[in-house]
Amino acid sequence: MLIRLNSFLINIIFFIFISVISNPAYSEEKNVDLLKINWSFKGLLGTFDRSSLQRGYQVYQEVCSACHSIQYLSYRNLSEKGGPEFSEEEAKAIAAQFEVLDGPNSEGEMFTRSGRLSDKFVKPFPNVEAATAANGGAYPPDMSVLAKARKGGADYIYSLLLGYEDAPAGYELDDGVYYNKYMTGQKIKMLKPLSDGAVEYSDGTQATEAQMAKDVATFLTWAAEPHLEVRHKTGVRAILYLIVLIILVYFSMKKVWSRVDSKDDLEQQEDTFDKVEKWTTQYEGDDPKSFK
């Protein structure tokens, strides 16, 4: 009886163990493995690929920006260190392409002027409602921190851009909804944005779908984390400094503690000696003189 109960319990524990191990992700979400790329910005000393960032900006500007804003990025960021590092003239020229609403002026009128470095990226729609209305009821998310707001980050953006497929037979799709195997629920309201040759790279890089996806994912990672390079650099320095400090503190600590540790050894020796003496005395008999 007891043995049967035992084996029953062991079975239960085994079952529990297996089900815990085999279910690392949320059960109801179908997680498709994302496409993985060896991004240059991963790793301890990861930095952005400048030309990829510049190409990525071009893809954003010519394709994404029709619907997606990057409201927290300024044109000056494009020429800053650690980013695409356009020259200041180039960044000024980029900013000047845009009409910015400014004002009110001294007459109390709003006016438009051409963009400056200090301006934020101009939004395609004045507000969320306008953007939603113009896009069939689905708001195209702001891309400022998109790479941090999605599980998988750059891999997710890259995969999503390449994840458009024909829906499996019998799969119901409404008008204006497309099938994308990396989207939650596999339904996306964004029309497939990239196709080979959608932009023309000035540096001669072949504008394949995968290349554009990679470039724009790199650009969006930078947009979400403009200080990534300096963060990595500072981190390596800080940890190296810490290691040196730890070594110094370790030996100082040993030195300080040697004061009590050595005293301890001596005392313990004396202590042991006392005990041994006592022991021997007992062994020898009460009167040490009786021993020759």
Binding site: V20, N23, A149, K151, T234, V256, V260, T280
Partner: protein, 428 residues
């Protein structure tokens, strides 16, 4: 190590110290006799103090730029991250610092459980510590709401809604907490105010916690009282200060790895989406350090029951000094308790894992088993162990905790042999 009254050397020192004995206090802190056999699990008190100060300093700087308004909070944080000099560093230190704070506090608490440090005469240290822990949870939760991302908003909604489970007045309390009929700008404002207040309350409690510690002095891994004015203790400075510093620096490496190379892995991606009351995230989860309690909350089928059990799981710890009736402190000499201690550790980690999972199927069953076991451990196992456990014999002092081990006797015999031999030679 002397217990003598401290008298400052200089005249002006004596003048000041007789009016406000800060110098005496500082001398006490330097000379505070600490058991010399403390291991590295005892360094987490110092690490926690460091993190409290770090959180307060970085928090005060962040507060200079943060805007507590539901329309501007998210933007102001992006401003800190992008445009403030080293704003990204300050914010990542603050955000990951809270995780490290909790990691350290959990180690600190489990160390207390293992070595029985909560037992007489240290009950008050234990209880002030638990109040600090409660306040830390309030601070962490209100802080998590401030970026006003999706998880901020929905975590605030879920947690404040817990109070609506209270019969009769629950709904009123919830609306009172919100400052409206849903989580909104007034909620954000008051959470910000509380988030700024609580760390200073914690700071005050830490002073009480240390004060209470300095009355009986530290427990130690052997768990027997040390004899003061004996070489069983060392002065706090420089011995313990150096050891704590060393441990802190090692711990900082883990901290720095998170801050500089994985600053967002402990957070949730959804918190980089601006709060939207119309869109509920598919899974609302708290920060990792609150997950065990979240699992207990959801394991109970009724809402009120869940809330009661969740709070009970913390308050039951306050009764621990009286639930654990064993006179022996350290688990080293409690063979059975040692086993149950590790089962408890596994249970709590399991609860944390289950808190991140949806409450359904096997996860729910496991969460219920773990919740029941958690309470059984404290309410049944500990009182019974105190009565029936056969503990190992305690050593007489911390310097020879292994006196009655056979290999020591062998050593003695050997030494005696040598001693005799020498004697024989010298005599003959």
């Amino acid at each position: 190590m002397s217990e003598e009254k401290y008298i400052p050397n200089s005249k002006i020192g004596q003048w000041f110290d007789s009016r406000l004995p800060l110098l005496t206090l500082s001398a006490h802190l330097r000379e505070y006799p600490t058991p010399r056999n403390l291991n590295y699990w005892w360094t987490f008190g110092g690490i926690l103090t460091f993190f409290l100060i770090t959180q307060i300093v970085t928090g005060v700087i962040l507060a200079m730029y943060y805007v507590a308004h539901s329309d501007l909070a998210f933007e102001s944080i992006e401003h800190i991250m992008r445009d403030i000099n080293y704003g990204w560093l300050i914010r990542y230190v603050h955000a990951n610092g809270s995780s490290m704070f909790f990691l350290a506090v959990y180690i600190h608490i489990f160390r207390t459980l293992y070595y029985g440090s909560y037992k007489s005469p240290r009950e008050v240290i234990w209880i002030t510590g638990l109040i600090i822990y409660l306040f830390m949870m309030v601070t962490a939760f209100t802080g998590y709401v401030l970026p006003w991302g999706q998880m901020s908003f929905w975590a605030a909604t879920v947690i404040t809604n817990l109070f609506s489970a209270i019969p009769l007045i629950g709904e009123n309390i919830t609306e009172w907490l919100w400052g409206g009929y849903s989580v909104g700008n007034p909620t954000l404002n008051r959470f910000y105010s509380l988030h700024y207040l609580f760390p200073f309350l914690i700071f005050g409690l830490v002073i009480l916690h240390i004060w209470a510690l300095h009355v009986p002095g530290n427990n130690n891994p052997v768990g027997i009282d040390v004899k003061k004015n004996n070489n069983e203790t060392v002065s706090f400075h420089p011995f313990i200060v150096m050891k704590d510093l060393f441990a802190l620096l090692v711990f900082l490496i883990i901290f720095f790895i998170f801050v500089f190379f994985a600053p967002n892995v402990l957070g949730h991606p959804d918190n980089y989406i601006v709060a939207n009351p119309l869109v509920t995230p598919s899974h609302i989860v708290p920060e990792w350090y609150l997950l065990p309690f979240y699992a207990i909350l959801r394991a109970i089928p009724s809402k009120l029951g869940g809330v009661i059990f969740m709070f009970a799981s913390i308050f039951i710890l306050m009764l621990l000094p009286w639930l654990d009736t064993s006179k022996v402190r350290s688990a080293t000499f409690r063979p059975l308790y040692k086993k149950f201690f590790w089962i408890l550790v596994v249970t709590v980690i399991l609860l944390g894992y289950l808190g991140a999972k949806p409450p359904e199927g096997i996860y729910l069953i496991l969460a219920r088993i773990a919740t029941i076991y958690y309470f059984v451990h404290f309410l049944i196992i500990l009182p019974l162990l105190g009565r029936y456990e056969k503990t190992s014999p305690l050593p007489l002092s911390i310097s020879d905790p292994v006196l009655n081990k056979p290999d020591i006797v062998d050593k003695f015999k050997k030494i005696v042999g040598e001693y005799e031999g020498e004697n024989v030679d010298s005599f003959k």
